[in-house]
Symmetry: C2
Subunit: 498 residues, 2 copies
């Protein structure tokens, strides 16, 4: 009975992305949305394994130049309120703890919406001398936002369960700016390993992180044509250092304010992997983050189905499956033999839904020719592979899948960036239609009024000026006329954003 419900086809991704996304989270057992508090969800074991692999990659990148720490969740109201710009950006979204047992607390405690105001008072005591700099730390923690908008699993949450936030302090502004560049490179490497493509922009003044001098953001394009911010990097300069009095003694013995940066990534990184690569059969996981990279399915008649069964054959098939499993396991590949009683079709369905990149089928006929069959999750291609070559062929195939889904995703992104040429300007109505499917590049001046008007007219958000991702882009310094006021302007990306 259960099986039947599970194998019902789901809504097609391109017809209704939102419904498809919810269905996939449920059927692939990523998140359970049935928790009785708005905007908070339960990670299933399978989802949490994906989460751990994704954050494992992030940790290994961070650990090269950062140290992991852990700061408290609770921030006293007076500390949170110290940085005026900062609190303005968060005050409507803070959850407040006001009682302990039946006692009213003297000072309400905020659940961290982000940790600047928890960490920087401690930076003040950690940093004494230029020898303590640079200081580069990060933590992976739960953070909280009292979201009044429509919440959505992994994307818009009241409890962000897995916020990786980095905080750095430097002697000079140049060092801090250098750190911003390093963080951009680190995030590029991270999303590249997830096969998630992105555009990188410098957010307009009116949309930067509260308290920052400027903010750089990674956005990816979701299948419904909206962009989703998946990472941000902020140059804080001296603003927080002045608020929290974070000074160091330089080589000449005089006191200087530190220069700071911070940068964060939430579980939206997991959402982007699911949304971008998945298809109408379920998840398609990049091998880098697949809890099972290879599922091995013995093709034998089911005992349960009651069909007469060549016992000798099925024993040797199962032996061959275990032998392949052992070889793969030995080679550090995450493999699994599905020797359950289900029919092969039910097994295919199950592991396709869970996004396992590669299936290996072994049946009696394969064994006779010392072969097995590979079936790729991403493109369903079948190939015969000699059993003696399984390990190198699996490695090659997984690399191929990783590369191919990345390329396909990049192509989709770039095919949906529409460039409004200066000489051949699109009309507003045309731009609005384009913006329904992707990102539009157009000329806009820096003034907030023009930005706001354009956002209203097109129903978009201004992402900002592109930050060079590839060498070629660095040269795009073209100028044109602002779409609104016709003054000189640079190109910006705009899109409907999550």
């Amino acid at each position: 009975m259960q099986r039947k419900a599970e194998t019902q086809t789901i809504v097609r991704k391109k017809d209704n992305f939102s419904e498809w996304y919810s269905e996939i989270l449920k059927r692939a057992k990523i998140l359970d949305i049935r928790y009785p508090v708005k905007g908070v969800y339960v990670w299933y074991p399978y989802g949490y394994k994906v989460r751990n692999l994704v954050y494992g990659i992030l940790r290994s990148l961070m650990d090269k130049e950062h140290e992991e720490v852990l700061f408290p969740l609770l921030i006293p109201k007076d500390e949170l309120m110290k940085e005026k710009e900062h609190i303005k950006g968060f005050e409507d979204e803070v959850f407040w703890v006001t009682k302990g047992g039946s006692t009213e607390l003297d000072i309400p405690l905020a659940l961290r919406p982000t940790s600047e105001t928890a960490i920087y008072p401690v930076f003040k005591v950690w940093i004494r001398s230029h020898r303590d700099l640079p200081l580069r730390i990060y933590q992976i923690v739960n953070t909280f936002r009292y979201e009044t908008r429509h919440t959505r699993p992994l994307i818009r949450l009241r409890e962000i369960t897995s916020f990786k936030e980095a905080h750095t302090a430097h002697a000079t502004r140049a060092d801090a700016e250098e750190q911003v560049k390093k963080a951009v490179a680190l995030y590029k490497s991270f999303f590249d390993q997830l096969a998630v493509p992105y555009v990188i922009t410098r957010r307009p003044e009116w949309d930067k992180f509260p308290g920052a001098e400027y903010s750089i953001a990674f956005d990816t394009l979701m299948p419904d044509g909206r962009t989703m911010q998946i990472g941000t990097i902020h140059l804080l300069g001296e603003s927080f250092a002045r608020t929290f009095d974070i000074k160091y003694e330089d080589e000449n013995g005089s006191l200087q304010f530190v220069n700071q940066t911070c940068y964060g990534i939430s579980e939206r990184c997991v959402a982007s992997v699911i949304a971008i690569h998945g298809d109408d059969h379920g998840l398609v996981l990049p091998p880098t983050v697949a809890p099972i990279q290879v599922v091995i399915v013995p093709i034998v008649f089911s005992r349960k189905a009651g069909i007469s069964n060549n016992g000798v054959e099925s024993v040797s098939v199962e032996k061959a499956c275990v032998a392949v499993y052992d070889e793969l396991n030995e080679a550090g590949i995450r493999a699994f033999v599905d020797n359950s009683e289900d029919r092969p079709g039910a097994k295919y369905y199950r592991w396709e839904m869970k996004g396992v990149p590669l299936r290996i089928e072994i049946g009696p006929r394969d064994l006779k020719s010392n072969n097995c069959e590979f079936v790729r999750r991403d493109n369903t291609k079948r190939t015969h592979v000699p059993l003696s070559d399984v390990v190198p062929e699996v490695k090659r195939t997984l690399e191929g899948i990783q590369g191919d889904i990345h390329e396909a995703a990049k192509e989709t992104l770039h095919a949906n960036i529409y460039k409004n040429k200066s000489e051949d300007k699109m009309e507003m109505e045309e731009l609005r239609r384009k913006a329904e499917h992707g990102i539009v590049s157009l000329f806009l001046c820096d003034r907030e009024r023009c930005g706001q008007e354009l956002e209203d007219q097109l129903g978009v958000s201004v992402l900002g000026k592109a930050v060079a991702v590839y060498e070629a882009e660095e040269k795009d310094k073209s100028e044109g006329e602002c779409m609104i006021c016709s003054r000189k302007a640079k190109r910006v990306y705009v899109a409907r954003a999550y």
Copy 2:
């Protein structure tokens, strides 16, 4: 300047354990206690590395038969209040979120003090059939207690940052009891790997987990003669299943309540490692959880000190150090070369404080004889080791340290368990004195009144009846007279407890 302050001797552990403990946390950079909220602290990078190694061992044990999940922090008041026994145990200790932004919440949200009431409503929807059982999950999360007592880093906290809680559901009570035994075995293996000795007892009725049928606890003996509870395992039976209506369909198609267990370990496991093994020079970390297992110190004249220096010699010493490092690293041993400008003495001090189990010194004279010197952290013994044997000798030595500190800790524990013999009863006053230094084993009946009276008279807590840890103990079924009422009684452990 800084150096001088750092090398000041600290209070001796046996003179004032409490002060020694605080000093060690600070100097070895485990926790920073200067966060402006009572009972919550900041994990330094070094402390967090130790924490991650400790929890890595726990995770690898758990992962064999449990799946990791993640449930929300916030529990709606009505859910938390459902289990009456349970909430009675926690209601004075719950932090309440009552506001989001400036909006009063309709239903106050509790910060989980533990997650039964968050998880079991979801178990209700996860569990349908006997095929879904056993269900065994765990999570490692922050939990909160509004402690009004004196708080203490890693030991009594308002934010427990690293609570590992497991929750299981079974078809029968026998299966659940079997799981309790498995959990005991798992925790034994965990604490054995930390070289932390323990007694295991079944808590008296009046001190069991709220909502449980019975509770089994691991306690270790701290250097001040008090016991600290470091792990608990609860048989919940059907109580929560009835409250949260968690049923499964058995093989005959009829609905049955599940039988449950839960068991937890907090960062007290890290506290116990620090408290039990450390000495007057700092931490002594078991090699299993030492972020640096071997520190390599080149013995060369410091350039900074301005002493004339044989450049050729120091270059070859540093080369030899790096070669040893490479070999150890290759062999999977966590090693570090301290080639800072500090004098060797300052380096010794630093790495002793941080508890690095083994130091290798290499100087020009050692090189001439193709040797190096090993210095063990635990017993300060020096040995000469041929450079060609470094890897096997390091492995042997680390194993030796691990075993020796475990043995020493077990001896200390057992030397401080005082058995009150039936035929040769100690007087109350003598027992009270014994209980100031350790655990007392005495006869006590099951009645709460007797337990309370004994606790009052001796200033102790009743830990409970010993649960067999080693085969030999299983046979201790001796009976005697209750210390208070003289009725027939079994042996229990009592001690002053944290």
